[in-house]
Symmetry: C2
Subunit: 139 residues, 2 copies
């Protein structure tokens, strides 16, 4: 079992960025941002935060767990909806303060609580279209 | 010009999630997390935060801007390295507290300050491999 209390801290920049020790850097609130993409399509499905316990459980079980800031509780994705996330790969970024999870969605395949596959279903106009209304994605 | 002071706030959950008004929800520090993927490959390149000014400039110019928490300043990605990010699409998530940018990297094509294409170049072992050393990605 991964001990959530024992994730190491690395202060040396080179060791943190180039080494092979996993030393996740949690923010002042004890949270680490996590991006989830669909392993098959590469689409960004959702974005959420993990605390140490959520990360430890994700590592141990291969099922994505997060910390719900709004509900103030540990949360196994899909525990009520059935749309669990089976982790295919976890990557850490250069300074180890963000994670990227490639995952497969179980159940009906929707990752967003609105029932859509992805939470990112609206496009923000920019450049010459700046200030226009959001556009609903076709997906 | 997009006025960074005038991003609206929406409190009604349905309007926030299903409407076509862009009402980005900045956190207590005035920041909004932003995921950047390569428009061509779908690979997650980097993760950073925007404040209102960075978001307004990104929307106006189509060039990705962020807020550097470590340096405490607005930052146009690639302003020193030349590896600027030309925005192809900006998507907001269901509750409008995260963004996903699809972008093209200019210059040498590296998005990470280490020179790599992506910041996410190390894989975290999990499941039966939990606790093993980080693995460097082939890319």
């Amino acid at each position: 079992m991964t001990d959530a209390k024992k994730f190491p801290t690395i202060n040396d920049k080179t060791a943190l960025e180039e080494g092979d020790t996993f030393a996740p850097s949690f923010d002042a609130h004890g949270l680490l941002p996590a991006i989830v993409t669909a392993a098959e399509t590469g689409e960004v499905l959702m974005f959420a935060y993990m605390n140490k316990e959520a990360l430890a459980r994700t590592i141990d079980t291969g099922q994505a767990h997060f910390w719900s800031r709004s509900r103030g509780k540990l949360w196994r994705k899909g525990e009520t909806s059935g749309n669990t996330l089976r982790v295919i790969e976890i990557c850490t970024d250069c300074d180890q303060d963000a994670l990227w999870l490639k995952a497969e969605v179980a159940g009906a395949g929707g990752c967003c609580h609105t029932g859509r596959v992805s939470c990112f279903y609206r496009s923000v106009p920019f450049g010459e279209y700046a200030g226009k209304r959001l556009m609903m994605e076709a997906t």
